[in-house]
């Protein structure tokens, strides 16, 4: 090597490109889709599955008002679990114990309320306390002792199932007082009246759409102000209109059934809250950092142990909420409650685009993943498909979803 001349370095920093050029125009719709294939693929799959079951079920019953209500009621606790699970998975862990925790929290609540006659809210608070304690226990072993979460929660799965049997004395308890049952089976309706439909449900739907549009528009304005690429305006409007139509259709159907399920309100609050926590708080962002590159996070001053601990405490909390919903829905506590729930919740996360290696995943994705499982189970039940076939189909869907993720990653790696 001979003497090398100093390379030319542009002394003036590049002028920021004009804002317009940063817009991703409608012509780039395809680019937009392929770039976000990991996330957009899941929505496309969801729509396809909904459409499929709409076509094949008798009288298109899968999208009937009663059935939509049913899906929400039937799978709400899995979705609640999936919210916590996706955070666990993003951080690079797994939690196999949530099914047992659902059973244990429900059992504690049932013993207090049904057996000892405490008011319903005492049972619920106790359930939450148990959930937090369970989370702290598992978080301690994972974060501070350094045992892989797979082992800790596998132990927890056995441990908390055993405790459930112990607490219940190996028998089922029922029924709860009617207030307790409202959580999972109650509806808010008739508050504003309406002729054959519930106006209140529609109003909530409208508020949700308006909220989505306004927050989307504000984000868009902020991004333009900070000179970030945004989708073209027609595309933005199309997106809002599409979401609006879907939400209003959903609300319309609910309004024609029994109104707004209370559990849907709980679920919506949790989804919004955790969506924001995961994206916009220091805690949430550190979860992604840990899962993306543990060593780099540690060397960036992230208190990895503390974050891991609270991830599990949070999982315990959400498992107790799911436990309350489930015990409310089944109007009692059973020794075998929550069996295999952990697998449904984990499947929801992976179908929803979470990466097996951690660092990737969203709360909304996990919800869509959970709904895909829900719509499939429900649709197959409506069609009278046998249990064993249902299980086979669900297994294959999970496998394909993760295969898709792996394929995507390899493709992304190749283009590097």
């Amino acid at each position: 090597m001979t003497t090398t001349a100093p390379p030319e370095v542009d002394p003036t920093p590049k002028e920021p490109a004009p804002t317009v050029a940063l817009h991703t125009g409608t012509s780039d719709l395809r680019a937009l889709l392929t770039r976000n294939l990991r996330t957009s693929g899941i929505y496309i799959a969801f729509v396809a599955i909904v459409a499929l079951f709409w076509l094949v079920t008798k009288n298109h019953v899968s999208l009937s008002p009663g059935n939509i209500t049913n899906i929400v009621l039937q799978y709400s606790y899995i979705l609640v679990l999936a919210i916590g699970m996706v955070l666990v998975i993003i951080a690079g862990h797994i939690d196999l114990s949530v099914g047992s925790v659902v059973a244990l929290t429900g059992a504690v609540s049932a013993v207090l309320v049904i057996k000892h006659g405490y008011p319903w809210w005492v049972g619920m608070l106790a359930a939450v306390a148990v959930g937090l304690a369970v989370g702290a226990w598992q978080g301690f072993w994972v974060a501070y002792v350094g045992i892989p979460a797979f082992i800790v929660t596998l132990a927890g799965m056995l441990l908390f199932r055993g405790m459930t049997l112990q607490v219940l004395g190996n028998i089922s308890l029922s029924p709860f007082p009617s207030e307790y049952g409202k959580v999972a089976t109650g509806f808010l309706n008739g508050l504003l009246g309406g002729n054959g439909y519930d106006a209140f449900t529609l109003l909530i739907g409208l508020i949700a759409v308006a909220g989505y549009a306004v927050s989307g528009f504000r984000t868009r304005l902020a991004r333009i102000k900070y000179q970030q690429p945004v989708e073209s305006f027609p595309l933005f409007v199309a997106r809002v209109v599409l979401v609006g139509v879907v939400v209003m259709y959903f609300a319309w159907q609910l309004a024609h059934a029994r109104g707004l399920p209370i559990v849907l309100i709980i679920l919506a609050v949790l989804i919004i809250a955790y969506g924001i926590i995961s994206k916009r708080t220091v805690f949430g962002r550190q979860i992604y950092a840990i899962g993306g590159n543990l060593a780099a996070a540690q060397l960036s001053g992230v208190k990895v142990k503390v974050v891991n601990f609270w991830i599990f405490v949070n999982m315990g909390f959400l498992a107790s909420i799911a436990g309350i919903i489930y015990s409310s829905r089944t109007n009692g506590a059973q020794p075998a409650a929550g069996n295999m729930f952990e697998l449904d919740a984990i499947a929801a996360c992976f179908i929803g685009g979470a990466a097996v290696t951690g660092g990737v995943g969203t709360v909304v994705g996990a919800m869509v993943g959970g709904l895909i499982m829900a719509v499939m189970s429900n649709g197959m039940q409506l069609m009278g498909i046998e249990q064993q076939i249902q299980s086979i189909v669900k297994g294959l869907v999970l496998l394909l979803a993760v295969a898709f993720d792996v394929y995507n990653k390899r493709r992304a790696g190749a283009s590097r």
Binding site: L22, K279, A289, A297, L299
Partner: protein
């Protein structure tokens, strides 16, 4: 029989964008100990990987003649088949298996029944251990042995494969003095038995003690081959060959005006996390505001370990010593505390330890100081983008936007993201570990410019680098580290590659 057991002719090996070897030739005589010397990254290991078939024939240009015959190896098995065995710096032993199991791994002693004959295996193992002078039972798990003894197990394993040409990559880098002496003695004995050895080493005193001939490689080319019989194998001669290039003029000018002392480290000692040895031994140094201080040392000298142990005890155990920031002693027990005290450490391995490759520029820039963007735990995403955008412009990070995924950027741009991250923590002192490793010349110049800008704004900068010209080009002062000890401190006016290399290879006993 030909005099040369091995001839490598005009070997050229290219990696995407880099010519690792260019026209390298190497002759090794039958029964000699042949040393290969060169700076880190000169291409020594690549050359040995070509020879042993790690890079199969067709992956490189040039010819290899072994025993007078043209040889083309498709993989390690091919080269082992003809008696070439390479022992890597990172030992390839399974810690939970016994010595005998390791010795015959992939080459098991099968009895008549088709099952492994453990009696035979253990007996054979005992013979092999005796031949390398290792007094251990064949059933001892390898993990219970020290590194020196593990090294001997590796050599015994090579002997079990009827080795004729033994390649050792930095065999003594992790060994203490007595283990090293034992190993060198063993190599001499093997030589008497007719086994040829190629040894890559940084330790010049060992090379001058043991090698018959020395080939010096620099920047992927053969410089010269020195021979003991001609009286050419001396440390001075080897050093001249290793560093002999002219200083290239790609270091931007800087007017140096050091201010008050920012960082002072005193009597810093760090133990290896699992082994019973000191990695950093009583090291002391200071850095002043507006000053670039270099730390020079060969691989294994403890440079990274020194930096990481200061940076919130990220490395090692039983750390002792004192750290002062602007004259006040600090205790940084965690990385967060170190950052809080104004220390930043940019790692030598940005992909493994520096970046979240699946996230975008924005998230990586903010990762070490997210608290600055947050109020009561809520991150201001717009501010975050603004900060990242500012960094992108200041650092001239070439990416379509701050939302670009970091894993897809070039090495130079990734390094700029790492620097952006640490600058956003607003540190008093930046420790940059191999800041230009694996990045192209243009990006290097930009990194140097950034470093100059930092010191001009009053920051203190420590640069750890394997490239001496780089240290000479950008530093005000250079410390040398050898085997965990500070062996010298040279102001830039007095420092030359030769003087640095002499201090970097200075051995323990000669330290005053």
């Amino acid at each position: 029989m030909a005099e040369n057991i091995l001839e490598m002719r005009s070997i050229t090996k290219t990696f995407p964008g880099v010519k690792a070897l260019e026209n390298v030739s190497l002759d090794v005589r039958r029964g000699e100990i042949h040393a290969i010397c060169g700076e880190n990254g000169a291409g020594k290991s690549t050359l040995m990987k070509v020879l042993s078939g790690v890079y199969p024939s067709g992956d490189y240009e040039g010819e290899i003649f072994y025993d007078g015959q043209s040889a083309s190896f498709g993989g390690i098995r091919d080269s082992e088949h003809v008696g070439i065995v390479i022992i890597h710096q990172e030992l390839a032993l399974v810690p939970y298996l016994s010595i005998a199991e390791n010795l015959f791994l992939g080459n098991e002693r099968i009895g008549r029944s088709g099952l492994i004959d453990w009696n035979l295996a253990n007996a054979d193992a005992a013979k092999l251990l005796a031949s390398v002078g290792l007094d251990e039972s064949p059933v001892t798990p390898v993990g219970q042995l020290g590194v020196g003894k593990q090294q001997l197990v590796e050599i015994a394993k090579a002997l079990s494969k009827d080795v004729r040409l033994l390649i050792l990559d930095e065999p003594t880098a992790a060994l203490n003095d007595s283990d090293s002496a034992h190993l060198l003695g063993l190599l001499r004995r093997l030589k008497e038995q007719g086994i040829t050895s190629i040894m890559i080493s940084h330790k010049l005193n060992e090379i001058t003690a043991i090698a018959d001939r020395v080939t010096v490689i620099r920047d992927g080319r053969t410089v010269e081959t020195l021979s003991l019989s001609a009286g050419e194998v001396t440390q001075e001669r080897i050093i001249r060959g290793m560093v002999g290039r002219d200083l290239e003029s790609f270091y931007p000018d800087r007017v140096s005006s050091p201010g008050e002392e920012v960082l002072r480290v005193e009597d810093w000692t760090v133990w290896h996390p699992t082994q019973d040895r000191k990695v950093v031994d009583n090291a002391s140094f200071t850095v002043r505001a507006g000053e670039v201080v270099g730390i020079a040392g060969l691989m294994g000298a403890g440079r990274t370990e020194l930096a990481m142990s200061i940076f919130g005890k990220s490395y090692g155990r039983d750390i002792s010593g004192q750290v002062f920031i602007r004259g006040k002693e600090i205790k940084a027990r965690t990385v967060a505390e170190a950052i809080g005290h104004g220390i930043a450490y940019a790692t030598e391995d940005r992909k493994r330890y520096g970046l979240n490759l699946i996230e975008d520029i924005r998230r990586n820039v903010s990762a070490a100081a997210l608290g600055k963007l947050a109020k009561r735990g809520w991150v201001n995403g717009n501010e975050e983008i603004k900060v990242a955008e500012q960094s992108r412009r200041d650092m001239n990070i070439k990416a379509p936007s701050v939302l670009s995924v970091v894993g897809k950027l070039s090495g130079g741009n990734q390094q700029k993201v790492v620097l952006s991250k640490w600058l956003f923590t607003d540190p008093e002192v930046l420790i940059l570990d191999e800041p230009t490793r694996g990045i192209d010349v243009g990006a290097k110049y930009e990194i140097y410019t950034i470093i100059n800008r930092l010191v001009a704004s009053g920051k203190a900068v420590v640069v750890i680098s394997s490239e001496l010209p780089e240290l000479l080009g950008i530093c005000d002062r250079i410390y040398t580290l050898s085997a965990g000890r500070m062996t010298g401190q040279l102001p830039i006016r007095e420092a030359t590659q030769e003087s640095l290399m002499a201090l970097m290879t200075k051995e323990r006993e000669s330290v005053g």
